[in-house]
C-alpha cells in the first residue's frame, strides 16, 4: 500500500457530474494512463443505540463501516476521531448481531464507483459519489505505490495532481500531518474517504443539469 491522497473534484460550471468525470478521464488518457478495471468504496453509518447511552446523557457516537474494492477481503470500521479497525468481511454479519448496540442509519449509505487508471507507478481512481439514487460529487484518489512514508512524497503527488486536475488541486490531507515517519496504511485511506463522504453529505445536492 503506497501513499494515497483522496480529494474531491468540484463539478465544472454548467456541466453534470457525469460530464465532468468524462472530462477527467479523457485528460488522464491523454497523459498516457491505462484503464485497469473498476473500483468501489462504500460507507454505512451506525448510531450507538439509545438504550446503551448512560444517564449522564452522553451523545451517541457515529461508527462508519466501510469497504474498499482494493482490499476485497477486508472491512474497515472507524469512529470519527478514533481508532480504525481492519477486520474480515464477516464483520458485516457481526454488526447484524449487534443490532441492540448499533443501529444502522440506512438512509446515509454513501458510495463511490468508477474506473481505475494506471500511469507509471501511480494508481488513479475517479469515481462518482452517490447517495441513494442521486449523484452528489466526484472523488479522485491517487496512490503512489513505491513510497510508504507520507511526508516524503507529498510534493511529488502534488505535481502529479496538478498535471491533470489543473487548478482544483487539494491541500495536504490531514492524515499526512499526523504521521511523520510512520508507514502509511490502508486505514489512513479510509479515514480520508470518511472525511470526504461527510463533507459531501453536508453539501447541498448538486443540481441535475440537462434534465428539464
Amino acid at each position: 500500500m503506497g501513499v494515497t491522497c483522496v480529494s474531491q473534484m468540484p463539478v465544472a460550471e454548467g456541466k453534470s457530474v457525469q460530464q465532468t468525470v468524462e472530462l477527467l478521464t479523457r485528460k488522464l488518457e491523454m497523459l498516457g494512463a491505462e484503464k485497469q478495471g473498476t473500483f468501489c468504496v462504500d460507507c454505512e453509518t451506525y448510531h450507538t443505540a439509545a438504550s446503551t447511552l448512560g444517564s449522564q446523557g452522553q451523545t451517541g457516537k457515529l461508527m462508519y463501516v466501510m469497504h474498499n474494492s482494493e482490499h476485497p477481503l477486508s472491512c474497515f470500521a472507524l469512529f470519527e476521531n478514533g481508532p480504525c479497525l481492519i477486520a474480515d468481511t464477516n464483520f458485516d454479519v457481526l454488526m447484524v448481531k449487534l443490532k441492540g448496540f448499533f443501529q444502522n442509519a440506512k438512509a446515509s449509505k454513501i458510495e463511490t464507483r468508477g474506473t481505475r487508471y494506471q500511469y507509471c507507478d501511480f494508481l488513479v481512481k475517479v469515481g462518482t459519489v452517490t447517495m441513494g439514487p442521486s449523484a452528489r460529487g466526484i472523488s479522485v484518489e491517487v496512490e503512489y505505490g513505491p513510497c510508504v512514508v507520507a511526508s516524503d512524497c507529498w510534493s511529488l503527488l502534488l505535481e502529479f495532481l496538478q498535471s491533470f486536475l489543473g487548478g482544483h488541486t487539494p491541500g495536504a490531507p490531514a492524515v499526512f500531518g499526523n504521521r511523520h515517519d510512520t508507514v502509511y496504511g490502508p486505514a489512513d485511506t479510509m479515514v480520508q474517504y470518511m472525511e470526504l463522504f461527510n463533507k459531501i453529505r453536508k453539501q447541498q445536492q448538486v443540481p441535475v443539469a440537462g434534465i428539464r
Binding site: D121, P146, C153, F160, S163, D181
Partner: protein
C-alpha cells in the same frame, strides 16, 4: 607439489613404485627369455637340466621379489582424496569428445591466462603507483592505515575480513543498515535497508560487488522458503530504474587493489537515495518526468537528476 601432498599421494613412493614396475617387467621378460632359450649346451643331460632349472628358479625368485616390493610401495603411495578438488569444472573433463568440444582444456588455459594477467597487472600497478601523477602528497587518507599490508590477491579473501569490512560500513551511516548472509557458499549476500525508502540486495564475490537488485521498502525480498530472493525484479518502475542505475554505479566504481574503498564509495552513492521522493531534479527543477522522480545520482556530486536530464 603442496596440493599433491594434501591430497594424500606420496610422490616419493610413487616414483619408486614406477621404478619397481619397470624392474618387475624386466624380470618377467627374463623368465620368458630363459624359457625361449631353452637348455644351454652342457656335457651331460642332467647338467643341462639342472642348469636350466636353477636359472629358471632364479628368475622366478626375482619376479617374486619385485612383486613384493611393488606391493609394499603401492601401499605407501596412498589414495587421492575422494572429493574432487576441481568441483564442477572437473566434471567437464569427463567429456570424451575432445576435438569437438575442447571445453576443459580451453577452460584451464583461460584460467592460467587470467591468473598470469592478474599477477602481471599487480606488478605493473605497484610500479606505476611509485611514480604518482597526483600533485597532493597524501595518497588515500584514512584507509591507508586500516588496510592490511599483505594482500597477495584480492579475489580470495577470508570471509572474516569481508564480514569486518561490511560491519564497519554498516556503522558508518545511521539510516542505512546492512545484513550479511551466506546462503549459497562463500559469496556474501547483503540486504541493505535505506531508511523507509528502499531495500537493496547486493550479491558479492569476496569483496567485489557482483549484482544488485533494488526493491521498495514494502516489497517482499524473501522467497517462499524464506531465502533471500536475488532474481525477481521490483514491481515498481521507479525501482527498476534505480536497479539499472545501481548496476551502472558498480561498474563505475572500480579499484581492483582496494575493494573496500570501492564498497564504501558504492554505499555512499546508494545512501543519497534516502531523498529519492523528496529531491527535485537539479536540471529541470521538477519532481516528475514521465511519471518518474529523479532517479539518477551523479557519481561525483551525488546530485539528483532525471534519467533524461542527466548530461
Amino acid at each position: 607439489m603442496a596440493d599433491a601432498l594434501s591430497i594424500g599421494v606420496n610422490l616419493e613412493a610413487f616414483s619408486q613404485a614406477i621404478n619397481a614396475i619397470q624392474a618387475l617387467r624386466s624380470s618377467v621378460s627374463r623368465v620368458f627369455d630363459c624359457l625361449k632359450d631353452g637348455m644351454r649346451n652342457k656335457e651331460t643331460l642332467e647338467g643341462r637340466e639342472k642348469a636350466f632349472i636353477a636359472h629358471f628358479q632364479d628368475n622366478l625368485h626375482s619376479v617374486n621379489r619385485d612383486l613384493n616390493e611393488l606391493e609394499r610401495l603401492s601401499n605407501l603411495v596412498g589414495k587421492p582424496s575422494e572429493n574432487h578438488p576441481l568441483h564442477n569444472s572437473g566434471l567437464l573433463s569427463l567429456d570424451p569428445v575432445q576435438d569437438k568440444t575442447p571445453l576443459y582444456s580451453q577452460l584451464l588455459q583461460a584460467y592460467k591466462w587470467s591468473n598470469k594477467l592478474q599477477y602481471h597487472a599487480g606488478l605493473a600497478s605497484g610500479l606505476l603507483n611509485q611514480q604518482s601523477l597526483k600533485r597532493s602528497a597524501n595518497q588515500m587518507g584514512v584507509s591507508a592505515k586500516r588496510r592490511p599490508k599483505a594482500q597477495p590477491t584480492t579475489l580470495v579473501l577470508p570471509p572474516q575480513y569481508v564480514d569486518d569490512v561490511i560491519s564497519r560500513i554498516d556503522r558508518m551511516f545511521p539510516e542505512m543498515s546492512i545484513q550479511l548472509s551466506r546462503p549459497n557458499g562463500t559469496s556474501a549476500m547483503l540486504l541493505v535497508t535505506l531508511g523507509k525508502v528502499l531495500k537493496v540486495i547486493v550479491v558479492m564475490r569476496s569483496l567485489f560487488i557482483d549484482r544488485t537488485i533494488v526493491k521498495g521498502y514494502s516489497e517482499n525480498v524473501y522467497t517462499e522458503d524464506g531465502k533471500l530472493d536475488i532474481w525477481s525484479k521490483s514491481n515498481y518502475q521507479v525501482f527498476q530504474k534505480v536497479t539499472d542505475h545501481a548496476t551502472t554505479a558498480l561498474l563505475h566504481y572500480q579499484l581492483p587493489q582496494m575493494p573496500d574503498v570501492v564498497v564504501r564509495s558504492f554505499m555512499t552513492w546508494l545512501r543519497s537515495y534516502i531523498k529519492l521522493f523528496q529531491a527535485p531534479c537539479q536540471r529541470c527543477g521538477k519532481f516528475l518526468q514521465d511519471g518518474l522522480p529523479p532517479t539518477w545520482r551523479d557519481f561525483r556530486t551525488l546530485e539528483a537528476f532525471h534519467d533524461t536530464c542527466r548530461q
